[in-house]
């Protein structure tokens, strides 16, 4: 795996677009978070963050088929989770008062949700709180 920045560690995970596999996205996130010394509170936030990112891409009703590709990048004291959904049907575009979006906005330092045309992508950054 090649990465532009030499001090970025990257972990990639591709899961079936199904609620049962979301636990893997969570465990991976918290495992990495613990590695970079995130606090217990941050890690609990990350559990929610990872789950909500997947939920946005898989959809609430769990009827989609396909995959969700999740890339975790660690850069010093922050963890970025970028997930791309390749599902059929594509996840619906969330309203701005969608619970997942609100949770992610409250818990993560950065949030991009790109859900138009064929693209389904969510990017969040969680920083180590000092």
């Amino acid at each position: 795996m090649e990465d532009m920045t030499p001090d970025t560690d990257r972990v990639e995970l591709v899961i079936p677009a199904s609620a049962e596999y979301v636990v893997l996205a969570r465990l991976t996130a918290t495992g990495i978070a613990s590695r970079i010394g995130m606090s217990y509170d941050d890690i609990e936030d990350l559990r929610v963050i990872a789950a909500e990112v997947c939920r946005l891409l898989i959809g609430d009703d769990n009827h989609a088929t396909g995959t969700v590709a999740i890339a975790y990048s660690v850069n010093g004291t922050s963890l970025q989770i970028e997930a791309v959904g390749h599902t059929s049907p594509p996840a619906p575009e969330p309203a701005d008062d969608d619970l997942s979006v609100l949770l992610l906005s409250a818990l993560a330092e950065e949030l991009d949700v790109v859900m138009h045309n064929g693209e389904r992508r969510v990017r969040v950054v969680k920083r180590l709180s000092s």
Binding site: L27, Y40, E44, A51, D97, S100, L103, S105, A106
Partner: protein, 248 residues
């Protein structure tokens, strides 16, 4: 229209209007509390915390600022939910709970293996100990790391911050140093055979405590305790003290 109710409440502070608004958004607040739910916490408690936070949010909301109420309220509600967990000491409780779960898993796995004639699956274990599979996996992981970490780098409790490793052998490579250290070997020889085997596996074979536990047929907790006791005894012996006396 909730928006007009919010405007009205901002102007009049009429409790009846507030109640209406709260009723309107209660599902939203509960939804957030469910999504932020952590293990073992009664859902009703979380819903209540979220509902109270919602009331606070309604009180503080300023419709003039042009922010949607849900956007404004979500961080307040999430913040209160997090504070709730913090106040209840979850940061301490959960690792402890997982540690207990880890110990329980060891026993349960042994018992189930005998009953089933094979090693149990995580789903089977989770079922028996009434935990989620995620919890079981996490507990397994935590137990593993915690006990691995608790070996050489554990502080001795001395003011100078020396670790057990510093004490056991003063060198950069404990394994290599130890194997050529005759006095250490003689100290090891004073220990009962089981303890000697465990220390050998831990420091000479560099096995993890959980692997040792499997090998010698004890719980990992037991192995951890034996290692600690053995090291204490060896330290005393090395200082020329009687291994049985309590001369710390």
């Amino acid at each position: 229209m909730v928006e007009s109710q919010l405007m009205l409440y901002a102007r009049t502070r009429d409790p009846a209007v507030r109640d209406e608004i709260v009723r309107e958004y209660l599902g939203f607040a509960h939804g957030l509390s469910h999504r932020y739910a952590r293990r073992g916490e009664p859902v009703e408690d979380l819903e209540q915390v979220a509902a109270m936070a919602l009331v606070k949010a309604v009180d503080r909301f300023d419709p003039e600022r042009g922010v949607k109420f849900t956007t404004f309220a979500a961080p307040t509600i999430i913040g209160e939910l997090k504070r709730h967990f913090r106040d209840k000491g979850w940061a301490v409780q959960v690792p402890r709970r997982l540690q207990e779960l880890y110990l329980e898993l060891g026993k349960t796995a042994g018992r189930l293996s005998q009953e089933l004639g094979r090693s149990p699956t995580v789903a089977e274990l989770a079922d028996v100990v009434s935990a989620s599979e995620e919890d079981v996996l996490e507990a397994m992981e935590l137990g593993h790391t915690a006990y691995q970490g608790a070996s050489l780098n554990q502080p001795t409790g001395d003011a100078d911050g020396t670790t057990i490793a510093d004490r056991l052998v003063a060198g950069d490579n404990p394994v290599e140093e130890a194997s050529t250290n005759a006095s250490l070997r003689s100290l090891l020889n004073r220990l009962p055979e089981r303890e000697r085997t465990i220390l050998y596996l831990r420091y000479f074979e560099d096995m993890t405590q959980s692997d040792i536990a499997d090998r010698v047929g004890l719980s990992q907790m037991h192995v951890s305790r034996l290692i600690r006791q053995s090291l204490t005894e060896m330290r005393r012996a090395a200082r020329g003290g009687d291994p049985d006396s309590d001369d710390e």
